[in-house]
């Protein structure tokens, strides 16, 4: 559903145990979610290399969602904390490149939070629509 011709592309890196299962639950519960969010499964949010985020933005993504287990719930103990640290660092770098740091969002979504996955997807779409397409100078 392009609006003003802008159809955002948002890449979601979802951890296998919580966020990906949460997205599955959104499906099983038939909770309508934004089709602009395109998920990629990783085992842990701690696996998300900053390079993935920058490559996604460079390759045409208008926004990137990182989603992992809630603090204390990480399947691998503390990978989500590493993801949090990296996200803070990446947001600083994005700002330095003149990219609005809201294009990168980190969320904790548990396996039982299908509704949260849906809510985040819509919020993310709306925010990216407000920010408009990401235009990078070549």
């Amino acid at each position: 559903m392009p609006e003003n011709g802008f159809n955002p592309k948002i890449v979601g890196f979802l951890c296998n145990w919580c966020a990906y299962s949460g997205a599955d639950l959104a499906g099983v519960s038939r909770i309508q979610s934004s089709p602009t969010l395109r998920p990629i499964r990783v085992m842990c949010s701690g696996r998300i290399d900053p390079g993935f985020v920058f490559t996604a933005l460079k390759s045409g993504a208008d926004g990137v969602l990182l989603a992992g287990c809630h603090p204390g719930d990480c399947h691998y103990s503390e990978g989500n904390y590493l993801c949090l640290r990296r996200t803070l660092m990446m947001k600083k770098l994005l700002g330095g490149f003149g990219i609005d740091e809201e294009r990168l969002r980190l969320e904790w979504i548990s396996a039982s939070e299908g509704d949260k996955y849906s809510k985040v997807s819509w919020e993310m779409e709306n925010r990216i629509r407000e920010l408009g397409p990401l235009e990078l100078k070549q």
Partner: protein, 1133 residues
């Protein structure tokens, strides 16, 4: 790869009936993919997971030579293994397969077919790009530990343990409570058969206890779980029970225990003692003592006096026992009852309610009572007698405590005292009106009777040297010479006649030496010594005594009640003044020049610092000035005796000792008390003496000076938050009772002589004051049970035990607890007396319960009963889910009420759910028995108006009749929701399990694998997974056990090949990864200066892969290359 070296990909998109194809245009997807480079086959099919669907893949691989496969269907959580299996059957490596989730992530969450199809194409494109970079991976097999663990020993855990034990291997059945049995042990009858719950549960409990290869770990908590499926290592803490297996359940201990708390097993409807057994058939079938956080009075006491214990005994009227208990750990009980500065009271939890318990006065009461009633107290016999002897220098509280403790340990000691009187500061510093000399003598005589010898008039260093003591044959020496020298004021005029030192004055007075006192006296300093000397001088005949202190009353270091007593006797106080000069004429004191002070910022001690106000000096007339601004250690002997002179000093000019062991730098020489700490309290000195005695014992026995058991006051006193112990009401709800005031001698009578000012409590006063005690700690360490237990099974020194258990698989069956209905105010639970919960009613029905199975309200049978269904269940405000058992147990209650009373029963229900075998028949039976059914959720329960036929009024709308009803009843039974049990959340996090939206543990699949979890090797059963009845619980437990037995029989588990690997040639040796791995799977290879991943320990999270700055770590199955290709493919469309 194919012959040409380029991959040949097969692509399949599943319709899943209409689940996918109803929204996603599958033809468009397969058409799109068919045009992608490298794709040889692109198909769509109705059910890819079906046998023909899988055949399709296998056939294409064989006939078309495919070497990569992508299936777009449901979630990989559902069918990834299915399709890997199909790929693997053709001989192709199963990891050359990638799955796309177009059902849960597309079709089911998008309503717009175009958007859903567009996204599906992007996801498929990403998978095609990704799959060509996938490489063959090989799963390995690892042997599994045959032993298993079951966590939670309700009926589910018991059943599983029994089933697992059939396999012949060890089963650990771990239970938090003191008994196994869980909630089922609370029930009276079970539906729909109405057989007795105990009669079917307890034989199983006995059976599991008798099964040799089941080890029951009761009172045990899981602290850590490491390892992986098949190879878990679990750290279990077994809390101390304080009662050994020798317990015969004779109940003698219950009769002597002074503490009662509500019984949690009886839902608070009955009480139990601190030493107890949960219920008669409990397993393990022995008693236990419940100890919460130790009472703060005990923690705060330098000698570890069991204050809460003797206070409880006094409250119980057992005065002799109280005195006996005090003597156990207190070397100077009579003295402490009078002059201890009672740090216990400062920390007393009762202070959070209104005022601390008068612990010290109670101690004095017990000792006074003992002296009046018991005659001479028998001296305890030490368990052993040692030949070594110990010399103690100084007979103050430190020396006496050390001698006493050494005597208890079987050592004979000799105390050398410089003065002719014994007691150190107790005799020389504390005036007799506070501590009558005959009281001090009582304690000293007792210590003498323990075999301690005293030599008075022998000055250390001068009359006897360290070397001489050693030569006399003492194996160890304890130096406790105190701090007997006053500190000078350092102001001009200090040498005038009429300026005296407070310590010296009190000494002289105590030794009976005559000394003149002035008419108008100034005492400089507001410490205890200053007050003591002021009150002494007043008694010696001074007309006017003024205490001059440089801060204000609030900061005065003396005891508050001492200052009040002094004031009552007529002592004046002059605050915010400091002396600058003692004025004199003809060599005699005529006055004092003082300067006014104001208070500044707080200093290191937390007291506000006094600052002189310039130009505020003025003169006051006095004819005697007493300096009482501090004391210091008198260490002349270090110069008199070269041997002793080798002892090291601290920067503060006190003897330097090891803080733990009290050992000086000289072998066999220990020191403590004021000589080490500087001037402190009597009880602190006693604490040092006791601790030093333990150190001397270890030293003489040739043991290392470590592992001390003598109590030392912790920096922070541990306590339970907000309430004295876990069973108590919070402080703000405890009824306020004022502290009993100590009766005192009239002020006019006091200054006429040296009589003791404080008169002591009467028996009634003591009991009343002691009953204010909140029994912090539940067990108050009175040790009455120790003496009462004939088999000697009580052991208060038991410690928690920590075990590391290796198990292959774990089952979690932690059950449920009852939702707390007090949060629903309109039902009045906790506010209205006759509103109770289902579990409370179960206990009322039970023959071992608080009413012996009678249905009673205020001692009478109710005339009518209302049973409210769905309390906190099926309620948007609390829990949306149905708790599943309430309808049936509500019917059971109806039957039992009618069986045992004449009462009318009303059921208020929303829907009647009789889903199980025999349940509908049970419903019909109860209906036939005559129960009134009202379909409608209750709006409110209120107190019935005067003259109503019931105590309560239940208001509801009968939705079948369409009328509002107000039903008067005597008893309301709520059927609260089942919610996850306490501690299950912590356990869930330890095991890294997920929870479903209702808070219960999340199963692997709601229909196909309700007992598995996302973590291999960990299973769930019973109410831990969600509310259910007993038959379902038992069925799940057996199902989980049989799955576990299956793996045990196989002996090996498949280990996923998703692992990290270091490419050593790329590793720069920065070691960033080493610290990041949560499993310590990355080691450092020193000779090659590279990191290495231990395959067995790696769990494949990929944290290290993302962190490696050299990209030297490859995460198999999720390589950088694969994910970058996926990102590219995802965004290309």
């Amino acid at each position: 790869m194919s012959d040409e070296g380029k991959p040949k990909v097969g692509f399949y998109v599943c319709h899943c009936g209409t689940n996918i194809a109803g929204t996603v245009n599958v033809d468009e997807v397969s058409d799109y993919v068919s045009g992608l480079p490298g794709v040889s086959v692109s198909r769509n099919y109705q059910f890819m997971c079906s046998e023909p669907g899988q055949d399709l893949i296998e056939q294409d691989i064989r006939e078309q030579g495919l070497d990569r496969v992508v299936v777009a269907a449901c979630s990989p959580m559902m069918h990834e293994l299915t399709f890997r299996g199909a790929v693997g059957r053709t001989g192709l490596n199963p990891y050359l397969f990638q799955m796309v989730n177009v059902r849960e992530h597309c079709a089911w969450i998008h309503s717009d077919p175009a958007a859903a199809t567009g996204k599906a194409i992007a996801l498929c494109n990403a998978a095609i790009e990704r799959v060509v970079h996938q490489e063959p991976l090989f799963a390995s097999e690892a042997p599994i530990y045959p032993d298993t663990m079951v966590i939670g020993a309700g009926i589910a855990g018991i059943q599983a343990a029994l089933d697992l034990a059939q396999g012949g291997n060890q089963v650990y059945l771990v239970e938090r409570d003191s008994t196994i049995g869980g909630n089922m042990a609370r029930f009276d009858k079970t539906f729909p058969t109405l057989d007795c719950s105990s009669c079917i549960l307890t034989p199983k409990m006995v059976s599991v206890a008798q099964t040799e290869n089941v080890q029951i770990l009761s009172m045990s908590d899981i602290e850590e779980v490491s390892g992986y499926a098949g190879n878990f290592r679990v750290r279990v803490r077994k809390r101390a029970r304080y009662v050994t297996d020798a317990c015969t359940s004779c109940q003698d201990c219950i009769a002597v225990c002074p503490v009662t708390v509500p019984s949690i097993f009886d839902m608070g409807m009955a009480s139990r003692t601190a030493i107890h057994k949960t219920f008669p058939q409990a397993i393990p079938n022995s008693y236990l003592i419940e100890k919460d956080e130790r009472p703060p009075c005990w923690s705060a006491c330098p000698i570890g006096q069991e204050a809460a214990g003797y206070v409880a005994l006094i409250g119980d009227g057992r005065f002799a026992e109280a005195a006996q208990l005090i003597r156990k750990s207190n070397p100077l009980p009579v003295v402490c009852g009078r002059v201890c500065y009672h740090p216990c009271e400062e920390q007393c939890n009762r202070g959070f309610v209104e005022e601390p318990i008068a612990i010290q006065h109670l101690k004095r009461f017990a000792l006074d009572w003992e002296a009046q009633h018991n005659g001479e107290v028998k001296v305890p016999e030490p368990p052993v007698r040692h030949s070594e002897k110990v010399a103690i220098v100084g007979s103050g509280p430190a020396g006496l405590a050390c001698a006493h403790n050494l005597a208890q340990r079987g050592y004979q000691s000799t105390v050398y005292e410089r003065e002719e009187v014994l007691g150190g500061m107790l005799a020389l510093g504390i005036p007799a009106y506070r501590l009558p000399r005959e009281q001090l003598q009582q304690d000293i005589d007792f210590i003498r009777r323990m075999g301690v010898e005293f030599q008075t008039g022998v000055a250390f260093g001068r009359d006897v040297t360290l070397e001489q003591l050693r030569e006399t044959g003492y194996g160890a020496i304890f130096v406790a010479t105190g701090a007997h020298r006053g500190i000078a004021m350092h102001v001009p005029g200090e040498d005038l006649d009429g300026v005296v030192d407070a310590v010296q004055f009190l000494h002289n007075k105590a030794l009976g030496e005559s000394q003149p006192v002035g008419r108008k006296v100034a005492v400089i300093g507001g410490g205890n010594c200053g007050i003591d000397v002021a009150r002494t001088i007043l008694r010696e005949g001074a007309e006017e005594v003024t205490v001059v202190y440089r801060r204000t009353r609030v900061e005065m270091p003396c005891e508050e009640h001492e200052a009040i007593d002094a004031e009552t006797e007529g002592i004046r106080f002059l605050f915010l003044r400091a002396p600058v000069e003692v004025l004199g004429k003809d060599g005699k004191v005529t006055g004092l020049r003082v300067i006014e002070m104001e208070l500044g910022e707080p200093d290191d001690t937390g007291r506000r610092r006094p600052i002189p106000i310039e130009g505020s000096e003025h003169d006051l007339g006095f004819d005697m000035v007493v300096a009482s601004i501090g004391q210091r250690a008198d260490l002349d002997y270090l110069e008199d005796d070269p041997g002793a002179g080798e002892m090291q000093l601290s920067p503060w000019g006190t003897l330097d000792v090891d803080a733990e062991t009290f050992a000086t730098n000289l072998p066999g020489v220990f020191a403590g008390g004021d000589a080490v700490s500087g001037p402190a309290t009597v009880v602190a000195a006693m604490g040092a003496g006791k601790r030093a005695a333990e150190a001397i014992d270890k030293y003489l026995r040739g043991q290392p000076l470590e592992g001390f058991e003598t109590h030392q006051v912790p920096a922070e006193i541990p306590r339970v938050e907000g309430r004295p112990h876990r069973y108590s009401k919070p402080y703000e709800e405890i009824e306020r009772v004022p502290r009993t005031q100590m009766p005192k001698l009239e002020a006019e009578t006091r200054i006429g002589g040296w009589d003791e000012v404080e008169l002591g409590f009467t028996e009634e006063q003591a009991v009343a004051e002691a009953q204010r005690c909140l029994h912090c700690g539940v067990c108050v360490d009175c040790y009455q049970c120790v003496d009462a237990c004939k088999p000697g099974a009580v052991d208060h020194s038991m410690k928690d035990e920590v075990d590391h258990l290796d198990v292959g698989q774990i089952m979690v069956s932690t059950g449920y607890k009852q939702f707390d209905p007090s949060v629903i105010p309109q039902y009045g639970y906790g506010r209205l007396e006759n509103v109770i919960t289902g579990l409370e009613f179960e206990r009322m029905l039970s023959s071992t319960g608080p009413t012996d199975g009678k249905v009673l309200i205020d001692g009478e049978a109710p005339r009518s009963v209302a049973i409210l269904h769905c309390v906190g269940s099926r309620d948007e405000n609390y829990n949306r889910y149905c708790s599943r058992v309430c309808c049936m147990y509500a019917l059971k209650f109806a039957h039992l009420v009618r069986e045992r009373t004449e009462a009318e029963v009303y059921q208020f229900y929303i829907d009647m759910r009789a889903f199980g075998k025999g349940y509908e028949e049970f419903y019909t039976r109860i209906m036939d028995e005559g129960t009134t059914m009202v379909r409608g959720k209750v709006a409110e329960v209120i107190e019935a108006p005067e003259g109503s036929p019931g105590k309560l009024l239940v208001k509801a709308e009968d939705t079948l009749l369409g009328v509002r009803r107000e039903v008067p009843v005597d008893l309301v039974i709520l059927c609260p929701a089942m919610v996850p049990s306490d501690g299950s959340e912590e356990l869930r996090q330890l095991l890294h399990l997920s929870q479903s939206a209702d808070g219960f543990l999340l199963e692997r699949h709601p229909k196909l694998d309700p007992i598995g979890t996302a973590s291999d090797g960990i299973y769930i059963a019973g109410c831990a997974q969600g509310p259910k009845d007993i038959p379902d619980t038992v069925a799940q437990a057996s199902a989980a056990a049989s799955k576990m037995l299956g793996w045990m029989a196989r002996g090996e588990m498949t280990i996923d090949p998703i692992k990290a690997e270091v490419q050593e040639e790329l590793c720069g040796g920065c070691r960033v990864c080493n610290a990041l791995c949560p499993y310590n799977a990355i080691s450092w290879v020193e000779d090659k200066k590279v990191a290495r991943v231990e395959e067995a320990l790696c769990k494949g999270c990929g944290i290290c892969v993302a962190a490696c700055p050299a990209s030297a770590i490859v995460g198999a199955g999720f390589t950088d290359q694969q994910i970058y290709a996926e990102i590219g493919g995802l965004l290309a469309v």
